[in-house]
Symmetry: C2
DNA sequence: TTGGGAACTGAACAGTGTTCATAGTAAAGT
DNA sequence: ACTTTACTATGAACACTGTTCAGTTCCCAA
């Protein structure tokens, strides 16, 4: 074995990698690195090679631990949920509880770059994520929602949250690329709406001042409230059947 | 110049392309071809080269008419809306009108492969699409919706429709890849939910029979009705302010 | 010490978006 | 009629992408 602290003789080429602590590659570390790349490069530039480079490792090494890029994305997706808090259901406060959940989810989706893009196109039906779905169902179920409404509401909420966050991040991307501020972009868009011919676009012109808000919080909250009012209207009702009554 | 009907002598190499009717390349034709490729190959395999091949043309030729792949996708997105029908607003029938619009949109998103994927990640704010947004606003506005609700509802509806259709197409993709039928996949998923430990997942187990329906129509309609009830609850109310009252 | 098996490498393959000097074509100017 | 001009289309190239695979390297059990 190589004596410690001895200069290696020139004819004996040094070992390619010195012994010290080669941290073994694991799925966890790969996902970590992938998130680092995502933060730095964005979703579109997140590539296996970049992840490998981040770890100082050959690309093909990744494929020992991960079948696909798809699988890696899936792992990132489930990682995203770690530490989510869905409260113990309380029938009195279900609306506030659902809202807290939604706010938490949106906040998380916007906490790192392009997380919304990552989330879009994945269904939260992997074993690790089912507890969260279950808890959300529990909160809504405790409120006294009919079965069929319950079965649909989780999907609805997550669709709304994801969709909203995705749209936010699309605007973010746009003003990142154009190198303008959100404030300026918002102003431009609203001015554009205001400048439309009022005879052909009366509604858009009339609403041009509030189509985009300085902060999106209000729009998010209002949308949420709309869904919640809709859900609340079913509390205590029997399961709706195939026919949907008009008006 | 070359005499007509004369055999070209061997030393004079024939003109690279004979005169006849070279159909000029246009944005329209490129978009057409792109849709053909999309139908055949799916969104992930839709590439500039495939589109070029479809047209029998070099890749770089596309870039004369189209700045980017992004721009091409944008063009496809706006093309998707052609022939949409948003009705003349009728305050008496606004719910049915909105539903018709939503059904029409979903139908269209599912009419061709991966259209939902294409739609996701685009905001319908290009000049060509504004008429549709305006009309939808008109229908909702005629119902007597407060301004701020109006400003948010178009977004909400399109988010819901897109999100729902995207999820549908994700399942479609999954059973296309696994080579099973939708019926079988649905059964497997529901059985999976049913097989969960009932103590930890009481709600999911209880709902396992209706988490996925044989057809998604019912779930779509119910979600739509929930949003509409939420919207309807605002009719006649003044603009909601920043505070959202609980319960 | 000697396997054996897993982890990792490097090179390769087929494909991607995009650019650019060049060749061809058709209309406009002289 | 001939040249100039503007523009479209070409083919090759660049710098990437995901994925595979024959080898090497490494560590641990026998």
């Amino acid at each position: 074995m190589t004596q410690p602290d001895m200069p290696t003789p020139p004819w004996e080429r040094p070992p390619k990698r010195r012994a010290p602590a080669r941290v073994p590659l694991t799925r966890e570390r790969i996902v970590d690195a992938a998130f680092t790349v995502l933060d730095r490069e964005g979703y579109d530039r997140l590539s296996m090679r970049q992840v490998a480079a981040e770890l100082g490792v050959a690309v093909s090494a990744l494929y020992v631990h991960v079948r696909d890029k798809d699988e890696l994305l899936q792992l990132m997706y489930t990682r995203m949920f770690e530490g989510y808090e869905v409260p113990e259901p309380d029938p009195e406060r279900w609306r506030e509880q659902v809202k807290d959940f939604a706010r938490q989810a949106r906040e998380r989706l916007l906490s790192r770059r392009d997380l919304a893009k990552l989330a879009m196109g994945h269904v939260p039906f992997t074993p690790e994520l089912l507890p969260y779905v279950e808890r959300l169902m529990a909160v809504l179920g405790a409120a006294g929602m009919p079965r069929r409404v319950l079965a649909v509401s989780g999907d609805m909420l997550s669709t709304y949250i994801n969709g909203f966050a995705l749209e936010e991040s699309l605007w973010q991307q746009r003003y990142r690329e154009t190198d303008t501020s959100w404030h300026k972009l918002r102003e431009e868009v609203n001015e554009y709406f205001a400048s439309l011919p009022p005879d052909r676009f009366p509604n858009l012109v009339a609403l041009s001042d509030i189509m985009m808000d300085e902060s999106n919080d209000y729009r998010f909250e209002l949308g949420l409230e709309i869904i919640l009012r809709g859900l609340a209207s079913y509390v205590g009702e029997p399961d709706p059947d195939e026919e949907h009554e008009e008006s």
